[in-house]
C-alpha cells in the first residue's frame, strides 16, 4: 500500500507562485485525474508531487517518508512519472527506450540483469509493442509512441504512475487507446494512476477520483458522478453547460453551451432524432 500525500504545499517558478497552499491525498489503487483550465496549476501540482519541482514550502510524503529525503532511485522504484510530450533521441529503438525504465533497479556494475530483461519483455507485451521492439521510436505513430513511453514507466515497475497529459497531440482513436491501456493497468495490475487530462469527459469516464483545480486551489475532489455539476464546471472552467449521463458509461457528460445553439439547433427542431444519431459497437 503506497499512499501519496501532500501537506501545505507551496509551488512556484522563480517568483511566480502557482500553488500557494494545497493539501491533497492520492487514494491508493485508484485512477486520479487532475482537471482545470490552462494555467490552473494542475501540471505544476503533478510536478510537485513527483519531485520534478521542489516545493517552496510544505512536504510530499509517500508511505510516511518525505520524497525529498529518500534516495532518488528508491523513490523511482515506487513512483514513476511520464512528463508531457517526451521526445526520444533519433534512432533509439523501442526496446532500448523501454529498457531505460530499468534504471532505478540497476547499478554501475549491474547494468542489465536477467530481471531487467524479463520485466522489459513483459512491459513490451502488456503494451502490445513486442513486434515493434527493434523499430526506432521516431518512426512510430503518435499512439504507438505514447505506448512505448508508458511501457518504459511500466518497466520501472512502480506501484504508482504519474502522467502529465498523456493524450495531448493524439487523435481521438489513440486517446481512447492510451486511456484504455491505463485503465487496464489500474484494474488488472492494481497500479495507482495519477494523470492530468484536458478533456473533462474523458476525465469523468476514467477517473475514480477527480480533482478540479482553479488558480492553484482545489475546487472539488471526489467521484465524478458525485461532484460534477453545472455549478462546479462553471466554477472551474467559467463556462455554462448542460450535464447528461454518458450513454455508454453512465458517467457525467459535460456539454458546453455555445452561441451556435441559437442558429443551428433551430434548423433541426423539426426532426427530434437527427439522422446522424447512431450507436456502433
Amino acid at each position: 500500500m503506497a499512499e501519496l500525500h501532500a501537506q501545505n504545499l507551496m509551488l512556484a517558478y522563480d517568483d511566480t507562485c502557482i500553488i500557494p497552499n494545497l493539501s491533497v491525498t492520492i487514494p491508493d489503487g485508484q485512477i486520479t485525474v487532475l482537471v482545470g483550465a490552462n494555467g490552473c496549476g494542475k501540471s505544476t501540482l503533478l510536478r510537485g508531487i513527483s519531485r520534478l519541482l521542489k516545493p517552496k514550502r510544505g512536504s510530499v510524503v509517500l508511505d510516511g517518508a518525505d520524497i525529498w529525503k529518500m534516495p532518488t532511485k528508491q523513490l523511482a522504484k515506487q513512483l514513476g512519472i511520464l512528463p508531457q510530450g517526451p521526445t526520444a533521441p533519433e534512432g533509439l529503438t523501442v526496446h532500448e527506450l523501454v529498457a531505460q525504465g530499468r534504471y532505478p533497479h540497476q547499478s554501475w556494475l549491474q547494468q542489465w540483469s536477467r530481471e531487467d530483461e524479463h520485466v522489459t519483455q513483459e512491459a513490451l507485451a502488456i503494451t502490445n509493442l513486442t513486434d515493434f521492439a527493434d523499430r526506432p521510436v521516431d518512426t512510430l505513430s503518435g499512439g504507438q509512441r505514447q505506448r512505448a513511453w508508458i511501457a518504459m514507466t511500466l518497466a520501472q515497475d512502480s506501484d504508482t504512475i504519474l502522467l502529465d497529459e498523456p493524450t495531448t497531440f493524439l487523435d481521438l482513436a489513440y486517446q481512447i487507446d492510451v486511456l484504455d491501456l491505463l485503465h487496464d493497468l489500474n484494474v488488472a495490475r492494481g497500479k495507482t494512476i495519477v494523470m492530468v487530462l484536458h478533456d473533462l469527459n474523458h476525465a469523468c469516464r476514467y477517473a475514480d477520483n477527480l480533482i478540479a483545480l482553479r488558480d492553484g486551489h482545489i475546487v472539488a475532489q471526489g467521484y465524478p458522478s458525485d461532484i460534477v455539476t453545472a455549478d462546479m464546471v462553471y466554477a472551474v472552467f467559467g463556462i455554462a453547460c448542460t450535464i447528461i449521463p454518458d450513454p455508454i458509461t453512465n458517467t457525467p457528460l459535460v456539454i458546453p453551451s455555445s452561441k451556435a445553439m441559437n442558429s443551428k439547433s433551430l434548423t433541426n427542431s423539426f426532426n427530434p432524432q437527427p439522422s446522424w444519431v447512431a450507436i456502433r459497437g
Binding site: 520534478l52 532518488t72 528508491q74 523511482a76 517526451p86 549491474q110 542489465w112 530483461e117 519483455q121 521492439a133
Partner: protein, 352 residues
C-alpha cells in the same frame, strides 16, 4: 519473440548490454587501423617495406640484417610514437565529443564546447610567445590547467537556479571562447614572428616530433578516463530522454551531468595538452559511429573512440604524404576532411 539486436555480458558481479553490431565494427576498425599503421610506418623519406615493418615490430627481423639498427631507430623512435599519439588523441577527442553531444542533446557540440581549446590555446601561446623556449614537459601541464580553468569558469557562469541548462552552457561557452580567443590573437599580433609561427603550428594541432614520453602521459590518463566514460555511458542514454524523464527514473541529473562534463573536459584537455587543438575529429567521429551502431551510448562511446583513433592515424599519414617531403599539420588535414563531410551532413539534414 523479438529479434535481439543486442548482446548481453553477464557475470554474477557485472552485467552489461551492448549493440550486437559493436564488436564486429570494433574488429573491422582495429583491422583497418592496423593496415594504416603499417602503411604509415612504412611510408616516408626513409622507405621500409611493410614486411620489414612487421618484422621489426614483432622482433623477428634477423639481427644481422644490414639495416637492423636504422629500421629500429626509424620505426620505434621516429614514426611509431607520433602515430600512437595520433591514435590516442583521436580516441580521447572522439569520446569527449560523443559525451558533449550526449549531454547537450546537440549533434553539433564538440569537445571544445566548454572552452577547452581556447583556454589551452591562450596558455600555450602565452608561454611560447613570452617565455620563448618552453620545455616540452611544462607545456602540456600548463595547457591542461588552462583548459580545465576555462571549462570551470564557463560552468560557473552557466549555473542558474540550481542547474546548468545545456543551452546556457553552449551560449556562455561561445561567449567565453571568443573573449579568450581575442586575448590569444592580441599576443599573436604583437609577438615575435618566429615564436608566433611556432604558436600557430601548436594552435592548428600537430603530432610532429612527439615522443614516447607523450605517449606514456596520454595512455596513463586515458587508461583511467576512457573506462570511466564507458561505464557512465548509460547516464548519457538517460540524459537523452530529457531531464524530467531522467529525474523521474531516479537519476540525480545535475550531479551526474557534472561528472560527465568533467570526464569529457579532462579527455579533451589531455588531448590538447599533447597535440594542440585538432578540430573536427570530436565532432565527426561520433556522427559516423551513431550511424553505424545507433543511439545507445554503451556502443556509441567505444566505437566513436575507435573511429576517432583510426581517423587521426589516417589523417597523419595523409598529412605526411600529400606535400612530401614537407608535411601538413594533422589539424589541417582533419579540417580538410572534416569540413566537407560536415557540409554533407548538413545538406542531408536539410533534405531529410
Amino acid at each position: 519473440m523479438i529479434k535481439q539486436t543486442w548482446i548481453t555480458i553477464r557475470t554474477p558481479l557485472f552485467s552489461y548490454k551492448l549493440d550486437k553490431r559493436a564488436p564486429w565494427i570494433a574488429l573491422l576498425l582495429l583491422l583497418f587501423m592496423g593496415i594504416v599503421l603499417v602503411a604509415s610506418i612504412s611510408y616516408g623519406e626513409y622507405h621500409i617495406t611493410p614486411t620489414e615493418v612487421l618484422q621489426t615490430m614483432l622482433g623477428t627481423l634477423p639481427q644481422d640484417h644490414p639495416q637492423y639498427r636504422q629500421f629500429h631507430l626509424v620505426v620505434f623512435s621516429f614514426r611509431l610514437p607520433r602515430i600512437w599519439v595520433a591514435f590516442w588523441v583521436g580516441m580521447a577527442l572522439a569520446t569527449s565529443g560523443a559525451i558533449m553531444q550526449g549531454i547537450t542533446r546537440n549533434p553539433l557540440a564538440d569537445p571544445f564546447l566548454l572552452g577547452v581549446s581556447g583556454g589551452a590555446g591562450l596558455v600555450a601561446v602565452a608561454l611560447i610567445v613570452w617565455i620563448k623556449d618552453v620545455s616540452t614537459t611544462v607545456l602540456p601541464i600548463a595547457t591542461f590547467i588552462g583548459a580545465l580553468l576555462t571549462a570551470f569558469m564557463i560552468y560557473i557562469f552557466a549555473w542558474k537556479n540550481g542547474g546548468s541548462a545545456p543551452l546556457r552552457l553552449i551560449l556562455i561557452g561561445v561567449a567565453i571562447e571568443s573573449v579568450v580567443g581575442a586575448f590569444t590573437h592580441i599576443m599573436l599580433v604583437f609577438g615575435n614572428i618566429n615564436q608566433v609561427q611556432q604558436a600557430y603550428v601548436w594552435l592548428t594541432g600537430s603530432v610532429y616530433g612527439r615522443t614516447w614520453a607523450h605517449v606514456h602521459t596520454l595512455v596513463g590518463w586515458l587508461m583511467v578516463l576512457l573506462p570511466m566514460a564507458f561505464l557512465c555511458a548509460n547516464w548519457l542514454n538517460m540524459l537523452n530522454l530529457g531531464d524530467d524523464t531522467a529525474k523521474g527514473l531516479g537519476m540525480r541529473v545535475e550531479r551526474q551531468r557534472v561528472i560527465l562534463l568533467v570526464i569529457s573536459v579532462a579527455l579533451a584537455a589531455v588531448a590538447v595538452a599533447v597535440s594542440g587543438t585538432i578540430g573536427f575529429v570530436g565532432l565527426i567521429a561520433p556522427h559516423i559511429a551513431r550511424r553505424v551502431v545507433g543511439a545507445s551510448h554503451q556502443a556509441l562511446l567505444p566505437i566513436s573512440a575507435l573511429f576517432g583513433g583510426a581517423l587521426l592515424v589516417l589523417a597523419d599519414l595523409i598529412g605526411r604524404w600529400v606535400i612530401s617531403p614537407s608535411e601538413l599539420p594533422i589539424g589541417i588535414v582533419t579540417a580538410m576532411i572534416g569540413a566537407p563531410y560536415f557540409l554533407y551532413l548538413l545538406y542531408r539534414g536539410r533534405n531529410g
